[in-house]
Amino acid sequence: MAYSVNISVEAPIENEIQEITFDGQEIYKTPPTLSEHLTKIAQKIDFGKTNDEENAKDPTENCEKVDEDNKDPANFQSPNWPWESLRNKLREAYTELCVLADVLAIAKDKRYLVLDPMPRDSTETSKPLVQINAKKKALGLVASILTTGTERMKVNLNEQARTRSPDFHIELLRLRQNWRLKKVGNAIIGDLSYRTAGSKFSQSGMFEITKAEDDEKPVTSPSESPNPNAVVPSNKNVSALRVTIPPELEGIAYIEVLCKKDQEALSSANITWLNSGSGNTIDPDTHWQQKLEAAQNVLFCKELFSQLAREAVQSTSPIPHMVVGNRIMATILPGIQLIIILRHSTGGEKKPVPQNTDHDHVLEHSLHQLLREVHYKNTHHTFPHPSSAPLGPSKRRCLAGPTAADRHELVEMTKSQTLLEQIIQQAQHAFMRLRIGYVLDTLAKEVKDPLIVSHWTCYNSPTQSSVKINLVTHGYDQLSKTSMILHIYEKSLKCICKDGRVMNLSYEPQELRDLIMYQIYQHQISTVQGLAKCMGWQVLGNSNGLGLGPVELLGNASSCILASPNGDRIISMRCEPQFGIAVSIAHSPRKDFFPGQLVKERKWENLGGSFKEVRWDKMEGKNFINKVEMLMASLTSS
C-alpha cells in the first residue's frame, strides 16, 4: 500500500434525485430518516459471514452456513416489511444454534457421535489414488475392529450357553465322585443303598442316570424346533443329568418318635396323622444331589423301621409291642407308651406338615445313630492276631477256647441288645430324667426350709445320668449340708445318702419324694446339733429312728435333746415327716419352788422337770434353725 493515495469519501450533500420531470424539475428523494437508515444498514449485515469466520472450526456448521448463504438472496428479494430479512436471519441463526447445541449434547456423550478434527488440507492436496488407498486402509481398520468385536461377543455367548446347560460328562464325573455307578449295557446304573457301608437291608437302591436333554425337549418345545434359548431361561440350574429313582424311594421320609402318656392322646395323634401323609415333596427340578440324598434317607428310614418292626414282633416282653401299619407301639413304663412312626410322603400335593410338638428329636437321632452303629459293626471287624487266625470271630470268642469258657459265658457272648430294646431303654431313661426333674423342682418349690438345690451333671450317657441334691438351711450353709447323689437309670434310681447308705428306688416318683422328705428332717436335726456345738449347748442324746410316738408312714421320727451350757435348761425336739416339728423345753431347777407332798426339798428339782411345748409357729425367726438359735439365746440369757 505504499502508493496509496488518500481519498476522502463523503456522502454528497445533495439528496439523491429520484425523478426528473419533463419540465426539468428534479424531484429529490427525501433523505432517509434515522430509523430508515438503521434498517438499511442492518439489512446489509451478513450474519452468516461473521459466524463463518468465528466458528470456522466446526465443519458441520460450516456446511450449513454455506447452504444458508445460498438461500439468503431469495430472502433479500422480497422484503415485505422493513425488518423481515433481519428477523429471518436471526431465526435461522437461532435454529442453527439449537441444532448446534443438540449436536454438541450428542457428541458429548460419545456414544453415537464422535467429533474429530477435520484434516483440512488432505482432501485438497492428496491425489485420487492416494485417497482411495487411504480409504481402503481405513475401511480395513474398521472391518478388523468390527470382526474382533463380533468374535468377542461370540465367545461370550458360547460361554454363557455352556454355563447354563452344563456338560453331561462333567456332571457325570461329579456324580461319580460321590455315588457308586456302573455301566450296564447302554444304561448307567447307580446304587444309593448303604450296602457298602454295612447295611444288610434287602431293598435295592438302584437309580438310573440319563441325559437330561433327551427327555426335556419334548416337554418344553413340542414343535421339536431346536431352540436352546427357549429351554435355558426357563429354569436357571438345569442339570445335564437326569436321575431316575425307584418310585418307592421318592419323596421325603422320617421317623417320628413320640412318648405318650395315655390312650386319649394316642387316638388324637391318629387323626392328625391321617392327613399329614404328605410332606414337603421334592420338586421335579431339584438338583440330583439333593434328590439322591433324599432317596437315600428314605431307604435308611425304611431299613430302620423294618428292623425295629421285626424286633418288635420277635421280642418277648411282658407287654407285647404292637406293630400296626407303619407304627410301632411299645410300653416303656406303666401308662407311658413309646410310639415310633415311619412317615413317608410321596404324593404331589404340597401341604405343610403339621409339626407334632411331641416329636422327640433326641430319640430320633439316637435311632439313626444306633442303626449306623450296626452298619459300622457289620463292616469293621477286628483283625486277627496272630495274622494266621481266621477273620471273623471277635477277640473274646478267640479267647474263649484257651480260657475254657463255659456254656454260660458263650451264651452271654451271643447276646446282644436289639435296636428296639436300646431305644426303649433310652426312652425310659429320658422319661425318668424328666420325672425326677419334675419331682425335685416341685419339692424345691414346696419346701422352703431347708433349701433343696439340685445339680445335674451335664455329661450323661443315653441311659444313665446323675444328679446331686444338696439340702442347706438359708443362712447356715456352712454349719451343715446334707447331700445326696441320685443315679438315674432306665427304670430305677439309686440314691447314695450322706451317711453312705445306698437306696434303690423304683420308677415311682412318690418313693423319691418320701426319701427326700425323710432326708429333710434328718437334715434339720443334724443342723440343730451343729448349731448346739457353736452355741455351747450340750447334745444329751439324739436318735434318727425314734421308736416312740405315733407310727409314721414314712420312716421314723428323729429327735434330739440339748442341754444349755449351765445345764438348767433342756430343749427337746422331735421331727417327723408327717406331723412336722415339735419342740419342748424344761427348766431345772425351776425358779419358784413350792414344797409339796411328794417333793419336799428343792434339791430334787435338779433331776429335771416336766417339759412344756413351745408354740413353734409363734417363735421369731426366718426358718427352723433360726428359731432354734433364738430359743437357745433366750434360754441362755434368762
Binding site: 492276631h385 496272630p386 494266621s388 478267640c398 479267647l399 474263649a400 484257651p402
Partner: protein
Amino acid sequence: MGEPIGTAMDSLTAALKSKIIPNQEYFLQGSVMDTAVQVLLHRLRGLCDNLDSGAESFHDHEMCFSIRKGPPPEQGLSLRVRRAFDYLDAPWQLRYIGQPEIGDKSQPTMVRSSLDIACSSTIVEFLTELGCRLDFECILRGYMFRKGRMKITVSKVFKMVQGKTPDGMEAISQSYLVELSVLAPSGQNAIAEDIKIFADQLKPLVQFEKINYFTRPH
C-alpha cells in the same frame, strides 16, 4: 445234661458232613521286592475295605513242629504255632496246613485244608511232650488287609537267630511275601474266582502263580 457223652464228636462230624466248617483255604501267593512294597501297599489301601484308620500291622512269631511216624522217607505231620508279638494278650494259634492242591488250569487258585485252633502259650510244651520236634521258626512282620472275606497279608520273613533277641533278626530275602487267602467250607469255588480277580488287579506289581513253594525233596 441228659444227653450222651458222644454229642460233641457227633455234632462235629455232622458239621463236617454238612460242610459248614471252613476248613479249606483258597489261596494265592506271590512276592514283591522291598523297593516296590510301598507301591503295593498304596494300591492295597485303595482296593481293600475300611482303611480309614490305616493298614493293620502285625508282628508274629511262627514255629513249625513236626512229628514222624516212621523213618525219614515218610512225610511227617507238621503243625504250626503262631503268636503275636504286638498283642501279648491274644491267644496263640495252632494250625494244621495240608498239602496244597494245585489243580488243573481251570482252578484259579490253590486249595489246601487248614485247621485253626486258638490255644494258650502252653501249646509248645504240650507239643514237645507229644514228641514233636521243632523244625524251624521264623518271624513275620508286615501288614494285613481285608476285602470282604479275603485276607491279604504282605509280610517280610525273618530268620530267628539263636541266642539273639528278636530285634537282632535278619531278613531271609529282599522281598515281601504277599498272600491272598479265604477260609471257606469245601466246594465253594466261586470264592476262588474272586481271589483270582483280585489278584489280577495287583498284576504288574505282583505276579500270583500257582506254584507249590512247599514241596521239597525229602
